[in-house]
Symmetry: C2
Subunit: 113 residues, 2 copies
Amino acid sequence: MTKHHSDLSLLFHALADPTRRSILTQLAEKPARVTDLADPTGLRLPTVMRHLSVLEEAGLIATSKDGRVRTCAIVLEAMEPVRTWIDEQRAIWESRLDRLDAFVMDVMKERGK
Amino acid sequence: MTKHHSDLSLLFHALADPTRRSILTQLAEKPARVTDLADPTGLRLPTVMRHLSVLEEAGLIATSKDGRVRTCAIVLEAMEPVRTWIDEQRAIWESRLDRLDAFVMDVMKERGK
DNA sequence: ATGATAGTTAGCATTATGACTAAGCATCAT
DNA sequence: ATGATGCTTAGTCATAATGCTAACTATCAT
């Protein structure tokens, strides 16, 4: 595979893990500390740290440290490219329908002659 | 990790690979045979087959075989859960804002007294 | 200054992913 | 019936992903 992950690959990959998605859902409620995020997962801290860094590298969360506490917050806008990509696929698909329509119109014109 | 992938995990995982996304984009234009999909990737057939089965297991494509030719088509609706999930996160996030709004309203009412 | 708390780093084991080659099977055209 | 075509299967390999423990650092409370 490519060493160069596109933003989209990073995003989709980050979202492909249930633990990470549940972390995001929790963060959608409100920002939280690392430990608060680890608790409900039942996973060890280092494991959760890893998930958090995947999320952060994908731009899906932002974190800041105050004293010994790191606070994480969701970055909802980061999901936009996902929606955009899906919309693009739909647009391509619809343009195919348009072409079919055009083709049908041509055929009908042809028959009308 | 879990042996049991949720639909969402399957979907996001399938979409996380650039080759698979480009295959989907090609299929959004029009259905295609396995070889037609393999060509532009520069990958070998068995590799592409694997990508196709990932896409099919995620429900993102449907395939059918006629003689020795397998034709693949995109299943756009399959992407809906992705959009829905993202919308849900936004909804949660917005309900948090609502709560903040309510709080601010309260404060302002308080000050107006 | 001591101990508890919060997070971090390093290293390891297991499994999953993505690529390949080689060989096989089923059509289709001649 | 033979060869070409299109796909499929099996097996291999390298790398990445996910989990863990153990040990470490930095803060905060007393």
